[in-house]
Point group: D2
Chain length 146, copies 4
């Protein structure tokens, strides 16, 4: 599991887009991953809420973290497809995400993610995503140092 | 239609996140919208391709543009849900998107979008998205000047 | 709630297709619905498992039941879209479904459903669905007796 | 291709559920498949339209036919996930479906399907589906006779 934690940390550190949005890994275990992002002005849409693209990026990458926590060291994961439902406007200064693996098969991994925000009535779910990821061979340049 | 073109232009200009990614509106008509984005290093994932979040943002916002082109001046559109399939890695220096309305109802609009990239064998589809949007009343602060 | 229970019972009784498949309502409350179906030979695909269409029908109709439990007596619900992930082959003689409302808005309701089957290792999830439903006016012929 | 036509014909003939609904294969080629179904009373929902489950079964199975037309003789396809948007009520006495492969990879195949119905204004699209299928080894009992 320690190796997998390092892998997931690398997934968050090496994705420039995720870093440029300020998305942070906040927790990872076998089959789950948690993250958060502060909704800076540059991440907003025309009404001042987090843009759907930010919510989708947060959910997608956190699903990737959860899936990545389940595969052997010589494997990697890539997103095949995902769907997201926007339950409420993504208001609030910070978005929190938790992704959980529903089923980790040899070649395909099914993951779900919730995106939450703090509002006047406490923390509420603003979006729910489901994602399919494929297990692929780790690219050479990414092999962990021996 | 001219009013709707202005509305779609505004949708692209006023969304800070879309501007910060460099996504540009390249065309709009009744029921369709086209856009593109240059894949700067900050938009990449760990393998050097455009991050899934960039592809999803491009598709979602362009679907919003296509849907927005179909509603009256006192209405606006918001994304209810979308799904995207990643057919190939989003390689290439520029991503192109075209969204088309499948059905524009009074309260719901169904839109599809293709994301294309130029590769060694010409332009290929790298992702296909489908989105449901809801028609809502235009917010006061956004009303067009009389 | 009693009125809503009756409405959900009616949703299951009056849908000929659901009756012809042998799908039964097994429980309903505010924001949730449970059902089951025996996988008769006529419901199988070429490998002897329940056909994906049976699993999707079970999930979709049970989502409709859960959504229907949340709306006023003069309203009805219709499916806008749904997505389903097939986690495992739907083996086993009986499929069980539970649907839960994630968010019930005035015009749109978001619901999730799990489909379970009993296998050698106990009950497992074979499919997970997410659905958006629209709230519409009840059709005249369906108005409850006064 | 002839071998693949036979495989797709078998996919439609051997699925008892598809036969019991009266779904017929009407055409197949490399990367596409067409089918239809007469909406008998047993296939209706409470308002007299085709039940969503019938529309989903038609779309899913026809996607399977289109995907099946692209794989070698020793391979089979299974549905990983699908999404369907219900654009209009599925009225009319017959539903027609056409599925097309967007991308056929070695291990995953992406397919889309349209479901059409004849109404007062001519043939209209009542639903649009997108599906991911996995390529698997053909089961022994299904091997074509030598």
């Amino acid at each position: 599991m320690d190796g997998n934690r390092q892998r997931v940390e690398r997934i968050f550190q090496e994705a420039k887009f995720v870093r440029s949005l300020g998305i942070e890994l906040t927790g990872v275990g076998s089959g789950w991953c948690e993250s958060k992002v502060s909704v800076a002005p540059a991440l907003q849409q025309q009404h001042g809420f987090a843009h759907a693209g930010v919510v989708m990026t947060l959910a997608d990458h956190t699903c990737g973290g959860a899936a990545g926590s389940t595969v052997p060291a010589d494997k990697d994961v890539i997103t095949v497809e995902n769907k997201i439902s926007f339950l409420r406007p993504a208001s609030g200064p910070v978005l929190f995400c938790r992704a959980e693996v529903l089923r980790a098969g040899k070649s395909l991994i099914f993951v779900e993610a919730e995106v939450m925000a703090d509002g006047a009535k406490g923390r509420v779910m603003v979006a729910k995503a489901s994602s399919t990821l494929a297990v692929i061979a780790l690219r050479q340049e990414e092999e962990p140092p021996r």
